[in-house]
Amino acid sequence: MVRQGWLPVILAMILAAVVLLSNQSLQLGLDLRGGHQLSARVLNPDPEAVITADDLDGVKNVIQRRIDGLGLAQTQIYAVGSDRVVVQLPTAQPPQEGDAEAEAAVDNTLQQAANQITERAVLQFGVLRPSEADRYATLAQERRDARVAVLLGQQQLEQLQRSRGNAEQLSAVREELEVAQTTFDQLEQDIGQLFDLRPLTGDDLVQVVAEPNPESQGEYYQLSLTFSSDGAQAFADLTKEVASDFNLRLAILLDGRSISEATVGREFRENGITGGGARITGAFTLERARELEVQLRGGSLPYDTEIVEQRTVGATLGADNVRRSLNAALAGLALVSGLMVVIYRLPGLVAVAALAIYALLNLAVYALVPVVLTLPGMAGLILSFGMAVDANVLIFERIREELRSGRKLYQAVEAGFERAFSSIFDGSVTTLISCVALGYLGSGLVRGFAITLGIGVGLSLFTSLICSKTLLKTSLFLYPALRKIKYFQPVQ
C-alpha cells in the first residue's frame, strides 16, 4: 500500500474548520434573519452624461455616512450594477410584545432611512432681491397661515387616531391635512425663488449640531452650524451685504425651499458676522432637527435618487425560513446517505464520511470569506450536495466496471478514480464557468446562489477526488477484512 500523504492534511483541515466555525458565526442574509432592504436608483438628470462608478461610489458614501449617523446596528450598504445603491437594515431585536413605543421606533426606522436616502439636502444661502420685498411679505404671511393649518390638522388627526374615530372623519381630516401640507411646501419653494444665491453651501460646513432652541423653552430645536475658514469668510461677506439695507433678508435654502429668512442687525454693516458660526432657528421638531443634522453631516447627495425596491421580512418569518431550509438540507442529506450505502456499500459509506467533511468545509468557507447566507444561497448549497454525490457515483460505477472486467480490488480502486477524473473535472469546470458568469453579471438572489454553488463545486472536486480516495484506501489498508469484492458489489 502506498503511504497516504493526504490523511494528515484532511485531518488538519477538519480541525481548522471546526475551530473556525466555533469562533465565527455564519452571516445570515435579510431573508433569513429579518429586516429591511431598500434599493435606491440614482437618477441621471442629463441623459447624455454617464454616471461613472466613481459617481455612484460618491452617492454610496454619502448614504453610508448618513445611515451611520442614524446609529443603527449592522447596516450594510453597497453599490449594485451601474446606478443602484442597496441599503440593508437588519431588525435589531424583536420588540417586546405590547411595547408600543419600541414597535413604533422600528416602524419609523424604515421611513427615516428612506428619507436619508432620497433627500438631497443641498444647503444654500441667498439674499432677497430688493424688488421682491413686498411679494416676500405677502408670501411670508400666507406661509404663517399655512403652518397653522398644518399644525391644526396634525393635532386633529392624532386625536381622531387615539380615539379610534370613524373612518370617514379620519380620511376627511387626512385629506385636509394633505392639502395644507402641499400649500405650505409650495409656499416655501416660492419664497426660495425670491432670493439670489451666494457662493456658500453645505460643503462649507465642518460641524452641524441639533440642539434645543432656548427661546422656545425646549419645545423646538435649532441647528447650529460651524463653517470652514473659507465658508466663514463667505458668510461674513454675505451678512455684511444683508446688514447694509434694512429691507434685505438672508435666506437658508434646503433643496430649493427656504427654511429660514433672517434680518441682520445694523451693527454688522462694517465686518459682517464673523467667527464662522450660524444657527438655523426654524420651528423644527426634535426628529426633523436630528434628520437634518444627519443629512448635513453626511453631505449633500450629488444626484436625485428614488427608491425602486423595498423588501421587508419579519424576524420570525426569517427564522422560519432558516428552520425550513435546514430541515430540507438535513432530510436531503439523510436520504442521500442512506441511498449511497444501500447502492454502493463500503464505498458508499466512505462517500457519506466524505460528504460530512464536505458539508463542514463548506460552512467553514462561508465563515471565512465571509458569505452572507440567503435562501437562494441555501438552495445552491443543497444542490451542490447533489453534485458532490455525483462525483462519488461516477467513481464507484467505474470501480465496479473495473471489477467486472476482472481486475484485482486494489487495481480497480486505483483505476476507478483515475478514469472518472476527466469527466468529473470537465463537468465541474463547466459548472464553475456558469457560476462565474452568474456571480459577476447576476444581481442579488442570482449572485447568492452562484457563490454557494461555485464554492460547493470547487470543494467537491477536493472531497471526491482526494477525501474519498484517501479514506477508502486507508480503510482498506487498516482493515484487511474489508478487502472483499462483495463489499463493492451490489447486493444480489
Binding site: G314, A331, G332, V336, V389, D390, E401, T430, S434
Partner: protein, 363 residues
Amino acid sequence: MTPSETVPPLPEIPSPALEAGTPQGPFARFQASRYRRMLLLLSAVMVVMSLLGFLVNSRDPQISAPLRAGLDFRGGTSIQLELTCHDPGPCAASERLQLPVVRSVLADLRLEPAGEGQPAPDPSSFNLQLLDNGEGILLRSTALTIAQAQAIEDHLAMAESLAPLQEERTQVDTIGPSLGAQLLKSALLALTAAFLGVAIYIAIRFSPINAVLALGALVHDVVIVAGLFAWLGQVFDVEVGSLFAVALLTLAGYSVNDTVVVFDRIRETDRLQPQLSPIDRIDRSIAASLVRSLNTSITTELPILALALFSGGELRWFAIALAFGIGVGTYSSLFVAPLLLGLLKKETAPSTSSPCPALSSLP
C-alpha cells in the same frame, strides 16, 4: 427527424474481453439507437408543447408574454400578513380572514399620493389572496411607496373587524417597474455569458460539434422547463420571478455537466474501441453511462424534493422547476445529445472502421 433512417445493426453480444470500454452490468445490452426515432420524437413533442404554451400566453391579454411574469420582473408591491392566533394553535373558524371583510376594511382606506402627478392607487384595485385557509393574506398592487405600504399595514392592523396581525411575520416586497426590467436584463445577460463560456470550453476540450450539441441539449431542457411553467402560469396562475431564473441557470449548469460526462465516455470509447462503428460506440457509451446517470439523478433529486416538501411559496416552485428540469436534463444528456451526435457522425464519416476522422475523409 430523419426521413430515411437505416435499420440499426443487430445487437452484438459483448465479448468477455477485459476491455474496460465494453459495458457490462444491468444495462449493458441497451442500444439507444434502436429507439432513436421514438426518443427524438418525444423531445420534439415536448418542445412543440412548450412553444405552444409560450404562444398561448403571449396571446392572452392578461399575460401578453411567454411566461407569467412575477413581481420581480413586472414591478409592484406585495404585502403578506398573518394573524396572531397562530402560536397557541390554529385560528378559530370565526377569526379567519374572509375576502369580503378585508375588502370592506380596505375600502375605507385612502392612500396619500406618492408625489405630484402620481395619484394614489385605489385600495379596491388590489389583488387579494387568502393564505393557509384564511390565517394569512397576500395583497398585490402596483408599486407603492414605503409610506403607502406602511399605511396599509397599519390600517389592517387597527381594523376591529379583523383578528390581530402578527407583525413579526409580515413580508413586504416592492419592486419599481424600472428595476424589474433591469433584473430581467441582467438575468438574460448572465445566461448568455454562461452559455458562451461553456460552449467555448467544450469546443476546446472536445470539438465544436460537441459544443453545439451540448448547447442544443441545454436549450432543449430550458425550453421544456419554461414550457411547463408557461402552462402552469396559464392554468394555475403560477408566476415566475428571480428564483425561476436562478432555477433555469442551475439547470443549464447541470444539463451541460451531465452531457459532458456522456461525451467524455464517448471520447473514451472512441479511443479504446476504434474498431466499432460510430453508432455502436455511442450506444455502448450510453449503456455504460446509464446507471451512473440514473443514480446521480436520483441522488440529486432527493435533496431537491426535500426542499420542495419543506419549503413554501416561491421556493417550492423553485424546487419543482429544478426537480422537473433535472429529469429532463438527464434524459437529454443520455439520449438527445449523443443520438444527434451519432446522426452527425454517420453523415460525416460513412466509413466506420477508421479510428481517425481525418483518414475517413480521404477517398
